[in-house]
């Protein structure tokens, strides 16, 4: 199996895609089997991508010409440390979310929609994996559109007034965003006459001095298009509604992975085609830094004002997207490695937080952040996992969030912009201001007359197990960050030669 995947990497995407379209058949015979079946599919995908990551970590690069058509004409797939790392993140987080959803889904969406829900979920996973490994700009556009449509469908699955409204807003803005991206791609094709990223980059180096205005247009169109889709600060308007009204498993994957997948595409376009010197020379890098800094501050401030737990977490995502963009904008080796590693850390933390919020709603029916008094004694597993993820979000040492902040701070000193260290600390304090009250309420604001004894959570086993695994992951990679750090540093070598 592994040697087959190494020889034909797109088989991984095709495998998940086939799984997506088998789901309705399975649901026709046994509806309760859909969840476990998709877990098995993701488990196989996780094993394959772990093998690919080990393979890429050893310094190998796989270049695969799809259908036997060689690169300038055909679609090329590239597995290097960067795309293998992204594949690993996607399959790991999705496996846990799918395992959680086997227990939580039937309480949240209509019973006859469950089979189709898994279809769309796996479709989303397959298209994100495709985005990570493809090396062809038009193929990238197709995957971007598939991701956009299936992400909207995941929001829509809840079928409430609020979710429908949010899904329409999301679809509209995502389509405007992909319009900008496609315009940029067509202009790139006009300038260079190629669609393969490597060939576009090679051609671009020779001709870019002839098209100064077109390059401005292309760069700003990519920034606006991917900025809308990945909710960079002033363009984040669709995110809070969509992420807070979706079912729990959808919110976790949307907030944890989907917005990052677009950042992966942006990284490939910006750093492989244009290169750091050009981004620096025409100040698009400074624009990214300004937007990232305002995202880190205002995202946290908006989050502070929200009373609904999931809305607060959604606004917190806006702030955390700012960290990833900060790493990209810094452009120094350590800063970019921190941005890439934060893609992983934030995916784990945000999935854990959203699932804990879902578990709280499952047991108590409570959505408000100010009604959690003493809940830590009733739901120690859920609130324990929530506290670990929240403290990691704040950036305390021993947790994985600290690792990305530490390297971001080092990277900003390396890039000669020490002002951002202060900004990172300030943003961490703002994070603390809206996460610590929840933890304090849950564990310390207790009714004096009630007995202070821990009782085990009344949530199904898959929910509790997922939360425990995610919390342990946060602590493990906070103590031993070598594995993701090595992959991220190898990935930076691709972008900053």
């Amino acid at each position: 199996m592994f040697s087959f995947v190494v020889a034909h990497p797109p088989a991984l995407v095709v495998f998940v895609l086939m799984g997506a379209f088998i789901m309705p058949t399975i649901s026709h015979f046994r509806r309760s089997l859909c969840g476990p079946a998709s877990c098995v599919i993701m488990l196989v995908a996780l094993m394959c991508s772990f093998h690919l990551a080990r393979f890429a970590m050893a310094g190998n690069t796989i270049k695969y010409a799809a259908g036997g058509w060689l690169p300038p004409w055909g679609i090329e797939v590239v597995i290097n440390s960067f795309s293998a790392f992204i594949l690993l993140i996607i399959s790991f987080i999705c496996l846990l979310i799918l395992f959680y959803s086997t227990a939580s889904l039937q309480t949240e969406i209509a019973y006859n929609a469950i089979g189709w829900y898994y279809t769309i979920f796996l479709l989303l996973v397959a298209s994100m994996m495709g985005m990570a490994i493809t090396n062809d700009i038009f193929n990238m556009y197709v995957f971007i559109e598939v991701t956009g449509i299936s992400a909207c469908a995941l929001v829509l699955a809840k079928n409430t007034k609020m979710a429908t409204d949010a899904a329409f807003k999301y679809l509209l803005l995502a389509t405007v965003g992909s319009g900008f991206v496609l315009f940029g791609i067509s202009l790139m094709y006009m300038i260079t006459g190629n669609l393969n990223i490597d060939y576009v980059a090679m051609e671009f180096r020779q001709v870019y001095t002839q098209y100064p205005f077109l390059i401005w247009t292309v760069l700003s169109f990519f920034l606006v298009g991917f900025g809308i889709k990945s909710a960079l600060f002033p363009l984040h308007l669709w995110l809070p509604d969509a992420h807070s009204s979706a079912p729990t498993s959808s919110s976790a994957i949307l907030s944890g992975l989907v917005v990052k997948a677009y950042i992966v595409a942006l990284l490939k376009f910006y750093y492989i085609i244009f290169g750091f010197e050009l981004l620096d020379a025409i100040f698009i890098r400074h624009l990214i830094l300004i937007m990232a800094a305002s995202a880190m501050l205002f995202g946290s401030m908006f989050a502070f004002a929200q009373l609904d737990i999931k809305r607060r977490l959604a606004y917190s995502s806006v702030a955390q997207i700012g960290y990833v963009f900060l790493g990209i904008g810094l452009g120094s080796p350590l800063g970019m490695a921190a941005g890439i590693i934060h893609i992983f850390n934030h995916a784990v933390m945000k999935a854990c937080l959203f699932m804990a919020a879902g578990a709280i709603y499952y047991q108590t029916g409570n959505k408000q952040v100010n009604k959690l008094q003493g809940l830590g004694y009733e739901m120690p597993i859920t609130l324990g996992a929530f506290s670990i993820a929240a403290l990691s979000m704040v950036g305390l040492p021993l947790f994985s969030g600290f690792i990305s902040k530490w390297y971001l701070a080092q990277g900003s000193i390396e890039a000669g912009m020490p002002l951002f260290v202060g900004l990172i600390i300030l943003s961490g304090l703002l994070n603390a201001s809206y996460f610590l009250p929840i933890i304090w309420q849950a564990f310390f604001d207790v009714d004096q007359h009630k007995p202070k004894t821990f009782t085990l959570d009344a949530i199904p086993f898959p929910m509790a197990a997922t939360l425990v695994v995610l919390a342990l992951t946060i602590i493990y990679f906070g103590l031993n960050p070598e594995f993701p750090l090595t992959l991220a540093q190898q990935a930076v070598m691709i972008f900053l030669p």
Binding site: F138, E145, G148, L156, N159, K161, D165, F168, L171, V176
Partner: protein, 126 residues
Amino acid sequence: MSVFAKLMQNYPFFVSEVLFCIGIYTTLSQTSLMKKIIGINIIGNSIFLLLIAAGNIREGIAPIMHSGDHLPQEIVYVNPLPAALVLTGIVVSLSVTAFALSIVVRLYDYYGTIESNEILEIRSWE
């Protein structure tokens, strides 16, 4: 060559950019959800026009060759790749439109209107 003459020669590009702006404006400013969907279709079509114009050559012919033909030197062929890309783009745009229309049907069931400002008003009462 003056700017105006250049513009007249390359008018498809100019038209596509104007259409793109019209599409963005329609999508973001109109209150009717149907008009917003028409807006995203205008955006898509403007980009398809740009791609087709980029691949086109005046007096060029379709790149179809027969094995026995003797190839005359003066014939120029149109680039077929943008046409294939546009075909893919049209399929994507069609599916987005169908999906958006189905959401609008659902919204009409819930709110009894397809004006976004009225939907906002109804949501603020609840």
